[in-house]
């Protein structure tokens, strides 16, 4: 590689990293936070078997999982603008990402809720607790623990999926890199550099995951008895 290429890489590094820190990360965290609220609610509605609401949840999951994220982004931004609902590109991205991720995570959490032995629910009732109390103190914490690796998978996936927001004019890392590459024609070094920055972000998340799993597993022990 020539000295000029190295210079470009060094020079563009902060230019790509800054939208990463200011756009990609906030977009991911905000969307994932909202997605979690949706996911827990949708999972609990199904677990509690609430009529009508349950059917609405199944419909929501069916539609979201059955259509491409990119198409959803176009509908959420261009489509909404088209019918007179003009929200900015960032808001549209948050809206679409949280609704999309919420559907997938709802299924993860529902599976984990159902994996908590029903006997604990019954024991909770026998101790005089009501459904919500049992959920908050007993079932959800355990479900969350077993869903944790899968949820973290979704979070890591989302970091990279945010690059799709470039399509609806959000200036995140990918958008920024495309702009620089379009100017300099140095595609290989620049996209490799971008890939490397995504990898760094995800590596940090992997560390966070490992550390939190250790923290969370306090009640599990070596082997069952």
């Amino acid at each position: 590689m020539t000295a000029a290429t190295w210079e470009l890489i060094l020079e563009s590094f902060t230019k790509i990293l800054i939208p990463g820190l200011l756009m990609t990360i906030p977009l991911t965290l905000l969307s994932f936070g909202i997605a979690m609220v949706i996911a827990v609610t949708v999972a609990l509605i199904q677990y509690a078997d609430i009529p009508v609401l349950k059917q609405i949840c199944r419909f929501y999951i069916w539609v979201i999982r059955g259509t491409p994220l990119l198409v959803q982004l176009y509908i959420g931004f261009f489509g909404l603008n088209n019918i007179g609902i003009s929200i900015g590109p960032f808001a549209a991205a948050v809206l679409v990402f949280s609704i999309n991720e919420g559907a997938y995570c709802a299924e993860t959490i529902r599976g984990s809720l159902e994996a908590v032995p029903k006997g604990q629910l019954e024991a909770g009732y026998c101790c005089g607790m009501n459904f919500l109390q049992i959920m908050t103190h007993i079932v959800l914490p355990q479900a969350f623990r077993s869903a944790f690796p899968a949820l973290f998978n979704s979070l890591i996936g989302m970091v990279k999926d945010t690059s799709l927001a470039s399509n609806i004019t959000v200036t995140e890392m990918f958008q920024k890199t495309m702009q620089i590459a379009g100017r300099t024609y140095k595609f290989m070094p620049l996209y490799l550099e971008l890939a490397f920055i995504y990898l760094m972000f995800c590596t940090v998340l992997t560390w966070v995951q490992r550390w939190s799993e250790k923290k969370l597993s306090h009640y599990e022990t070596q082997g069952g008895r």
């Binding site: 032995p117 019954e122 909770g124 026998c126 101790c127 005089g128 607790m129 103190h137 007993i138």
Partner: protein, 249 residues
């Protein structure tokens, strides 16, 4: 004094008629052993009177009130459960809570009792079942017998008028059964009212004051335990006791 009275309880699961109209009266201090082959409806009976299953028919008289078992409101269910305890075959301890937390949860969460006060009560109960030294252990760190003893302390936490035991030793290794039965015997001797679904013939014979033999959803025979064991009236009871007493090899 009558603690609990069940009249004409019926329950079906689909086509199979599990309980066919039983009556049961429990006096204060009674320790009632419920015996019977698998599928006779023993467990369903306990689960129906604590509303873990909804009975199709029947009434329950408890705490001076009469309830229609097929039409219980959430409030009624909560009111009755607050004064009863339940011990499960598989312990069903809360896996994410320590032994002491398992015992105090019903007090701190359901009744909003002050944490420190609940802890004092909880430690006292763990002491009673010989588990005070293990109070900060999680269920996965305890043996089956220890878990069941914690579960008994948990059932005692609400200061119940009656405790239901659903085959409390059936999931235990033979060498761990004794420690659980010892705790139950001490409770019985202290005057606790108990209904115990069990296969432990020695417990039924020597600890319970009344034995009730069930089959196919009806009570075949009941009476003072000594009498049922020594002079069973029904041929079916005799056969069952003979089989249960013989070594299973």
């Amino acid at each position: 004094m009558t603690v609990l009275e069940v009249k004409g309880i019926e329950k079906s699961f689909g086509e199979s008629h599990i309980l066919k109209g039983l009556d049961l009266t429990v006096e204060k201090g009674d320790v009632i052993a419920v015996l019977g082959p698998s599928g006779s409806g023993k467990t369903t009976l306990l689960r129906c009177i604590n509303f873990l299953e909804k009975a199709d028919k029947g009434t329950l008289v408890f705490g001076g009130r009469e309830y229609d078992l097929a039409n219980m409101t959430k409030k009624d269910i909560a009111a009755v459960r607050r004064r009863t305890g339940f011990v499960f075959q598989n312990y069903n301890l809360f896996a994410n809570k320590t032994a002491i937390e398992n015992v105090t949860m019903g007090l701190t969460v359901a009744r909003k009792m002050d944490k420190a006060k609940a802890r004092t009560i909880g430690m006292d109960l763990l002491e009673k079942v010989g588990m005070a030294d293990w109070h900060d252990r999680y269920p996965s760190q305890l043996s089956g017998g220890q878990q069941q003893r914690v579960a008994i302390a948990r059932a005692l936490a609400s200061d119940p008028e009656i405790i239901y035991f659903d085959e409390p030793t059936s999931a235990l290794d033979p060498e761990l059964i004794g420690e659980v039965l010892a705790v139950m015997r001490r409770l019985a001797e202290a005057g606790m009212t108990m209904i115990v679904v069990t296969h432990e013939m020695d417990f039924a014979r020597n600890v319970s004051n009344r034995t009730l033999f069930m089959e196919h959803g009806v009570i075949v025979e009941q009476g003072p335990s000594r009498e049922v064991f020594e002079h069973p009236k029904e041929e079916r009871t005799r056969e069952f006791l003979r089989l249960e007493d013989s070594p299973h090899v």
